[in-house]
């Protein structure tokens, strides 16, 4: 079971309070996780990936296992700990202070 954590705004939008659990067949990739997430929570469509380009939005990051996976290929396998559910796949709103 894949666990996905969302930033505050997206948890509010999806009406969830904690991690989201998703059943995804292997191979588990970022694309597979995001497809499953948007399928289960259609209100998130367009908020993580641009609706037209399907690219990650500029101020969204993907973290897992202490690593920034944002610049990995969307079709690359995610770490084994994410696949087993030991570690969450974290969707992050990038820092933008000032």
């Amino acid at each position: 079971m894949i666990r996905v954590t969302l930033p505050t705004h997206l948890r509010t939008l999806a009406n969830v309070t904690g991690p989201i659990e998703l059943q995804i067949e292997e191979p588990v990739t970022q694309r597979a996780i995001l497809d499953a997430l948007e399928s289960a929570y259609p209100m998130l469509r367009g908020t993580i990936r641009d609706m037209a380009t399907k690219e990650r939005r500029p101020f969204v990051r993907f973290f897992a296992c202490g690593e920034d996976l944002s610049h990995e290929s969307i079709d690359a396998a995610v770490p084994a700990e994410v696949v087993t559910g030991a570690e969450p796949f974290r969707v992050i709103g990038a820092m933008a202070g000032g």
């Binding site: 469509r45 993580i48 641009d50 609706m51």
Partner: protein, 371 residues
């Protein structure tokens, strides 16, 4: 007794302000969608409890929210605004051509007769429509055929911010686009043409009287006189007596003819309102005095309305969608500022009072009168 409901969109959420028709005592609800930019929140004439909101943000893009119970509960509806076909290009800041890219929804204009029918004005400028209550949106692409390749974004973005549905002709729509101008369709949105004759942009355009490229900030009309239009342009307050075929200036004795919103009194079609600011580089009121200006003659002769408004050290702005008029017998006016104040006048602008002082910067104000 009627209820008055003011819908306020801000940089950090939406607020609903409620009062009776006395408009003296107000209840404040919100923030709704806290932390998000609400460019526009508006009710539907044919079903006042149907409310639409444009919710956006730098991190997570654009959402459209819909309420069917007057703002108590909300659901997200469709947020896919895909340009028709190959989007094409428009002029970029450096003179090159740049692809059309969806950024946000600036304005939502529901049909007066069908709560499921709504027009949306977006950035990069285009007009969209839904006929299923916001589930799906499709572009009216003929608008961008009107020399869209020459449109160039101004500093505020290339946004379609004003949509006027003609009250006497369901096939006629006016729209206004920053740094592009005013446009009209007479066939329900299939074909469009610019309606900018008489506009002069001496400092902004190499050809001051160009067919497109004028920075129109807002347009308004009165339902009883649908061919008379009033415009607040980047500079100049303008009037057309022939549905936009030509315009003439009515800035008259205004202290500055730069501003963003313009509105028409609910019962006096020749009474109009603007909120002048100093200049394009000084987006605050002249002399630090927040003054609404009223003309009872359809322009040219203006009077300052100041009673209850700050007359010293005031340096806020009033944005283009942030001035509204109610339909009560004693006509009410409402405006919100970039300083987070929302003011009300229940007597056509003679006297004002703040409803709230400290909201986030106000982007839009709309008002509903409920039975």
């Amino acid at each position: 007794m009627s209820e008055v409901r003011v819908l306020v969109g801000t940089r950090k959420g939406a607020f609903i302000l409620r009062s009776d028709e006395g408009r003296k005592d107000w209840a404040v609800e919100g923030p709704l969608f806290p932390g998000w930019e609400i460019y526009h929140i508006t009710g539907t004439p044919s079903d006042p409890n149907r409310i639409y909101a444009s919710q956006s943000g730098g991190w997570f893009g654009q959402l459209i929210q819909r309420s069917d119970d007057g703002g108590k509960t909300w659901e997200t509806v469709g947020n896919e605004f895909a340009y028709d076909g190959v989007p094409g290009t428009h002029q970029w800041y450096d003179g090159t051509q740049h692809p059309w890219e969806f950024k946000r929804v600036w304005h939502l204009e529901p049909s007066p007769t069908d709560a499921d029918s709504v027009y949306a004005g977006i950035e990069d400028a285009a007009l969209f429509h839904t006929d299923d209550g916001g589930k799906t949106w499709h572009e009216l692409p003929g608008l961008r055929d009107v020399k869209g390749n020459l449109w160039q974004p101004g500093a505020g973005g290339m946004c379609l911010h004003t949509i006027l549905l003609s009250p006497d002709n369901p096939n006629r729509i006016f729209v206004a686009i920053s740094a592009a101008g005013a446009f009209r369709t007479d066939d329900g949105g299939t074909s469009w043409r610019p309606v900018n004759e008489g506009l002069h942009s001496d400092y902004e355009l190499p050809d001051a009287a160009a067919e497109v490229g004028h920075c129109v900030h807002s347009i308004a009309l009165h339902p009883s006189r649908p061919n008379i239009l009033f415009m607040q342009k980047h500079w100049d307050v303008m009037r057309s007596d022939n549905a936009g075929e030509s315009w003439h200036e009515v800035s008259g004795n205004l202290p500055s003819d730069f501003g963003f919103p313009i509105a028409v009194h609910a019962h006096e079609p020749n009474t109009i309102y603007v909120v002048p600011i100093t200049s394009d580089s000084h987006h605050f009121p002249p002399d630090g005095k927040l003054r609404v200006y009223r003309s009872r003659s359809g322009g040219e002769e203006w009077e300052a309305l100041t009673n209850g408004l700050p007359q010293s050290n005031c340096y806020v702005n009033v944005l283009r969608n942030a001035l509204a008029v109610d339909s009560l017998d004693s006509c009410g006016l409402y405006f919100g500022t970039t300083g987070g104040q929302v003011y009300v006048s229940s007597d056509s602008g003679d006297n004002w009072m703040p409803i709230v002082h400290d909201l986030p910067a106000v982007l839009s104000v709309e008002v509903q009168v409920l039975p």
